[in-house]
Amino acid sequence: MKLSIERVSKEYGAKRALDNISCELTEGVYAFLGANGSGKTTLMRILASVARPSSGRVLLDGVDIEVLDERYRDMLGYLPQHMGYYKNFTVEKFLMYIAALKGIEMPKAKAKVDELLQAVSLQDEKRTKVGKLSGGMKQRVGIAQALLNDPKIIIVDEPTAGLDPKERIRFRNLLSTIAADRIVLLSTHIVSDIEYIAKELLILKRGALIKKAEPQLLLEDLKDKVWTVLASPNEIAAWQASYKVSSMLVRENGTELRILSESKPAPHAAEAIPNLEDLYLHYFDEEAAK
């Protein structure tokens, strides 16, 4: 299975949200990394067929998804960034409704709903109205609905927003388990969500795809550019003014700053192994500073 994005652009009036994006995706987890307004959500919406490109096209195994139409959407599981719901529907009714939209027969849908409620630990809430659930619970309902039809292509936009750390780990594990024979597209700000499961990272900036590679290859680019220095409290401000500081860790003998720098920033600086947070800071330093 191959999903090809061919020269896709999207304009909203004068604003260009996506600029000539091209790439190919096969089975595995792909993580879209980008700051707010980078075009992640727009691209995911196009892939989820809830938006259409202004130019370019998306092909599944060589066939335009607009031509595939229902057949494409039948393979899709989509969790949007801001999940909609009917506040007066119970969790079970909501999922049964989505199952009906996905064309799942009633008895099969019932069994699938029960199975997924178990998987997202919401079996005790099946009779609760969706409007009464916490943000994290609603997000779990959203995850369950995306998986109802055993989709071959899963598109999840900021899926871990609102989940507590335990739920995030569960979701991560769930995704990596099911990703073997599926294309999973995930966008997030939380880099730890994708650290161990992403087959490739797609880095978007101002609507353009600036990098697409395996995480390790991207981290290779940062080799010799990440450093740690020990600083006294009155030196921290000066370091922050001069360098991109990705993290600070208070130690017994001072504060350890993690710094991105093309060259060794100080004689006592030690080279560190780059991680995805460094990578994020490297590409999106202004947004990270916000």
């Binding site: 919406r45 989820a48 067929s49 809830v50 938006a51 259409r52 229902e70 959407r73 039948d74 899709l76 989509y78 949007p80 801001h82 999940m83 909609g84 719901y85 009917y86 007066n88 049964m96 409704y97 989505i98 009906a100 939209l101 996905k102 064309g103 009633m106 609905q145 039809n149």
Partner: protein
């Protein structure tokens, strides 16, 4: 489709506002109807019921003269005498209607000979002649119940259908956009086609429900107040339909009226769905759909715009098709390539074309729809 239809029906019927508005409007209508004099006068008609012959006409005339003579000698007319007089006046009206009809049937063949055949004018007059030949108005029954049932549709029925279609159906798509549910629908297998079909089916079922409920209310209320009878009375005995060339008794006309009203209401429901699919906000959807509904009333009543020879176009608006009266009240035809086509048939075609167009446009809209 079946399970989606159930969900769509559930979503429509669980809106509390439709029940609140329905009950409120029916209560107001009930108050308005009870404010009128509502008495069953069927007993006064018993002796005269059936086909009115020349003999019965003379008997009625004689009885009326006698009554006038007796009552005019008193200081004032008794209630009973007034009721009896009303019966005689009705008989006299029927006689005049019958005479007018007979005159037309006798006059038209001669007039046709003066017209050139195969012209629109000739065909139009030949058609009205054929229709009038079948009309028999000389029957008398106490028909207050069916007459009031028919009258209800013109104002109250149309108001109830319009208001409830607006409230119940204007949110059908726009609410999905506002709640964010459109993201799931548009990305799902059935969201853009079968889902839309289910919404249309649910909307039409809801519209039927609205009509059936007020028609039941109308039927029961009229029967209780005026008694069960008069169904076989000719349509022409209702004041608005005196000039109607249609050979209907009141029972038949009630069904014709119901069918025509339903056609207009279904057409209006479909246009409301289309507007809802275009509007991101329910309020905007209600306002725009309301404007479509109020259009003919606004033109003629509020803005008093003179449309001249185009005024009859308003007869084919959703609201006026639902009201029906202007379609059947007199002999009105359009000239279709030299052929006269009666207004009710034109209305059926207009409603069918508008409904098909609205449905196709709705499917097209939802096929192309993008989330905001």
């Amino acid at each position: 489709m079946k399970s989606l239809l159930k969900f769509e029906l559930y979503k429509i019927f669980r809106q509390k506002s439709i029940y609140a508005v329905y009950v409120l409007l029916l209560a107001l209508i009930m108050i308005s109807l009870n404010a009128q004099q509502a008495v069953n006068n069927s007993a006064y008609y018993k002796d005269w019921e059936g086909t009115l012959t020349a003999e019965k006409y003379s008997q009625a005339e004689a009885a009326y003269s006698e009554l006038m003579k007796a009552e005019n000698e008193k200081a004032s007319w008794s209630n009973e005498a007034r009721m009896q007089a009303a019966v005689f006046e009705t008989i006299d009206t029927v006689r005049r209607l019958d005479e007018t009809n007979k005159y037309s049937v006798e006059f038209l063949p001669g007039y046709l000979t003066q017209l050139e055949k195969k012209t629109f004018e000739y065909r139009k007059n030949a058609l009205v002649l054929r229709m009038l030949e079948n009309v028999e108005v000389n029957k008398l029954y106490y028909h207050k119940a069916p007459a009031e049932m028919i009258d209800f549709v013109n104002i109250f029925g149309t108001m109830l259908s319009g208001a409830l279609i607006l409230i119940g159906l204007a949110p059908i798509f726009s609410n999905e956009y506002m709640s964010g549910m459109d993201q799931f629908q548009l990305s799902s297998r059935h969201g853009r086609r079968i889902g839309v079909r289910a919404k249309i089916a649910a909307a039409l079922i809801y519209t039927s429900f609205v009509i059936v409920v007020w028609q039941l209310f109308n039927f029961v209320h009229r029967i209780v107040v005026y008694g069960n009878g008069g169904w076989q009375t000719p349509l022409q005995q209702i004041f608005q339909y005196r000039a109607a060339p249609y050979d209907y008794d009141l029972l038949t006309f009630i069904f014709v009226q119901l069918g025509m009203h339903a056609l207009g209401a279904f057409g209006f429901a479909l246009i409301v769905l289309l507007i809802s699919a275009w509007c991101r906000h329910t309020m905007m959807s209600i306002v725009l759909s309301g404007a479509v509904y109020a259009f003919p009333i606004a033109i003629t009543v509020f803005f008093k715009i003179e449309l001249g020879k185009y005024e009859d176009i308003l007869d084919f608006t959703y609201t006026n098709v639902m009201r029906i009266t202007s379609l059947f009240a007199e002999f009105k035809v359009i000239n279709l390539f030299g052929l006269p086509v009666l207004y009710p048939y034109v209305a059926i075609v207009v409603m069918a074309v508008l409904s098909i167009a609205a449905t196709m446009l709705l499917f097209y809209t939802m096929k192309r729809r993008e989330v905001a």
